[in-house]
């Protein structure tokens, strides 16, 4: 130790000893206690979250507690449970409310959860969302239908093509145009590949959340193959703005069949490697089986759709049950689970990758020739070459990209099966070139409601796995 260090310890920081009388000491102590209490009160009062905060049990209404328990869920036979008939446990002394997120790495974005824990057991959960709210629905009213697909593609950033698809389908339904078959099939191809990419991404993150880093790397590796195909076809890996009202932006590139062949073969072969890595692995099964179970009745009551609903055994897939595009012309299976637990959700998604690849192969075989967009100059721009020679083409081009096209008055709701569930688009048109109201029914947003129920009674260590199995994409939740 040097001399300098020794000197450093001396100085003005030395606390002064003050003699306190007993009365003064008691006075000070009560002052401190009062200040602490005031601070505590203020802490609650000052949080800007207000009622979104998970309040302690004693200050939560019984109705709300019961709702969090899931007691208001309908019974299978269609009857109600009267919430006042249900006892809510009184165990305030042992519980602890902790905050998880929005910066938690396993919440897949900026999801914040308030968890009430009894030891290691999760009792109540409250998802707090809105951290990524960017007002896309409002923005959609300011953009023309031509520009609209650029906006919606940014919602569910893991399967952007599905967002574009639902917006385009809604717009086309309002205009009432019929697409050339090739456009429909290209859309289907891209939508299915998007599903593959999204599910692969889910496999990756879910593996990561359960501690399988190799799965994360594999998932990203395979997804990259799909994204490379997107890049080749659309010019962009994400937010492609490829599917537009009136068709798609471009035809498929030369040699796309070979790319699809390689892609399908590789991903299909590797999906069986995942089986070896995860499906049969005892640790993985221990951590996923019977964790976060959901019954079919609960799922329906909570408006849950997509793989989560199918994992409970309900064979509901809009591609099959309410076919759009040309899904009634391809052959595929709807994958259902049985127990609605984490493992079922995993296997539904894994098998959906295989089914999607099956669909993609059929599409590649049956891809019809023809135009990739509708040749209606009021909806789609003329080919570039025509602009040089035709004044009319130039005018049409100018009109479409400055004011867009007018859409007849009306309202329409269109829903498609996105990788996360029913993705709906509700458009109200007032006859101008901009949607009067554009509402997106986001599957992640709705599915997130099931989270309190899934987590209830489980271990806090499984919370991460359950959140991941719901597959929320915060860009879509908050829009």
């Amino acid at each position: 130790m040097t001399e300098h260090d020794e000197h450093g310890h001396e100085g003005p920081e030395q606390p002064e000893e003050v003699e306190l009388s007993d009365e003064r000491f008691v006075e000070l102590e009560s002052e401190v206690a009062a200040r602490h209490e005031a601070e505590e009160r203020q802490l609650v009062a000052e949080t800007s979250e207000g009622a979104q905060e998970l309040a302690p049990r004693k200050s939560t209404s019984a109705w709300e507690l019961r709702q969090e328990v899931g007691a208001v869920l309908r019974l299978p036979e269609g009857g109600y449970v009267d919430p006042s008939d249900i006892d809510v446990e009184e165990r305030d002394d042992q519980t602890m409310i902790i905050n998880m997120g929005p910066q938690h790495p396993s919440t897949h974005g900026v999801l914040r959860l308030m968890l009430e824990l009894d030891g290691e057991t999760v009792l109540r959960t409250k998802p707090v969302i809105g951290y990524l709210h960017t007002g896309m629905e409002k923005q959609g009213e300011e953009l023309t239908y031509v520009q609209g697909s650029t906006n919606v593609t940014r919602m569910d950033y893991l399967s952007p093509l599905n967002n574009e698809l639902v917006f385009s389908l809604a717009t086309e339904a309002l205009i009432g145009i019929e697409l050339p078959p090739r456009a429909v099939w290209i859309r289907m191809l891209m939508s299915e590949l998007s599903r593959v990419a999204s599910h692969l991404m889910w496999m990756a993150t879910n593996g990561m959340d359960l501690g399988s880093t190799s799965m994360m790397i594999y998932g990203f590796r395979e997804r990259e193959m799909v994204l490379s195909f997107f890049e080749k076809t659309t010019g962009l890996r994400l937010n492609t703005n490829f599917i537009r009202p009136g068709g798609v932006a471009a035809d498929l590139p030369d040699g796309w069949e070979d790319d699809i062949d390689v892609l399908c073969e590789t991903i299909l072969a590797r999906s069986y490697e995942y089986d070896e890595l995860l499906t049969g692995q005892p640790i993985f099964r221990e951590r996923t089986e019977a964790v976060g179970s959901l019954s079919a009745e609960e799922a329906l009551a909570l408006s849950v759709t997509g793989p989560i609903l199918r994992s409970t055994g309900v064979p509901w897939d809009l591609r099959r049950t309410m076919p759009y595009l040309a899904y009634d012309k391809v052959d595929f299976d709807v994958i259902v689970g049985k127990y609605g637990d984490n493992f079922d959700r995993y296997s539904v998604r894994l098998n959906e990758i295989r089914e999607s690849i099956r669909i993609v192969r059929q599409i590649a075989e049956m891809m019809p020739p023809g135009d990739y967009r509708v040749q209606d100059r009021k909806v789609t721009p003329p080919p570039r070459a025509r602009i040089d020679e035709s004044m009319e083409a130039l005018i049409h081009h100018f009109k479409i990209f400055t004011e867009g096209f007018r859409v007849p008055e009306g309202e329409v709701y269109v829903a498609i099966e996105s990788p996360r569930g029913e993705l709906g688009c509700y458009i109200v048109s007032d006859g101008t070139s901009k949607p009067y109201r554009m509402h997106i029914r986001a599957p992640s947003f709705v599915n997130l409601q099931a989270l309190p129920l899934l987590l209830r009674g489980g271990l806090v260590a499984d919370a991460v796995a359950v959140i991941s199995s719901v597959d929320p994409v915060m860009g879509e939740v908050d829009r």
Binding site: G50, A51, L169, G176, E409, Y426
Partner: protein, 173 residues
């Protein structure tokens, strides 16, 4: 399906009353229903009992600057409209319920106890459009910050009312 619906509320057949309602070439045509505000919840219950298991969507529309929309006779156009999409898995059918909600009293019965899944959607409609759902257990903002003023999706919401401070262009390095 129309016989299962309550007789007290007008149930519109889309083809005859609303020729403007677009049809999707390869979709089932959605059925439309326009109940009065008071009969709305009863109607939702009736549909639920008739086999519409899932409330797939609920949103609100502000018709402030577009009042002349086509509605069936007997339905008075109000400023707000709450649109509920119900889905029947067993019948593979959708129904769209559109309720008029006046500007003077933007309130509507909550259907959370009929469809618990409408919880977050009603909160969203309240947050962004300011329609209050009476009977909802937790009628708070869901997407916007808790202390936000106004409801952004309303047509008279001042877009750009929050001044944005632009910095000067960076000088030469």
């Amino acid at each position: 399906m129309s016989d299962a619906a309550p007789t007290t509320v007008p149930l519109a057949a889309p083809a005859s009353i609303l020729p403007e309602v677009p049809r999707l070439p390869d979709h089932l045509v959605d059925q439309l229903a326009f109940p009065h505000r008071g009969a709305y919840k009863e109607m939702v219950k009736a549909f639920r009992d008739a086999g519409f298991e899932l409330c797939s969507d609920l949103c609100a529309v502000d018709y402030l600057t577009h009042p002349g929309r086509s509605l069936p006779e007997g339905v008075r156009a109000e400023r707000f409209e709450v649109v509920v999409n119900l889905l029947s898995l067993s019948m593979r059918q959708r129904v769209r319920i559109r309720v008029q909600v006046p500007d003077s009293d933007p309130a509507l019965d909550s259907i959370v106890d009929v469809y618990p899944g409408a919880d977050a959607m009603e909160r969203e409609a309240y947050d962004l459009m300011g329609v209050v759902f009476t009977g909802h257990p937790d009628m708070t903002r869901i997407l916007m910050p808790e202390d936000w003023e106004g409801h952004p999706l309303r047509k008279d919401y001042g877009v750009g009312r929050v001044p944005v401070q632009f910095k000067e262009a960076p000088g030469p390095r």
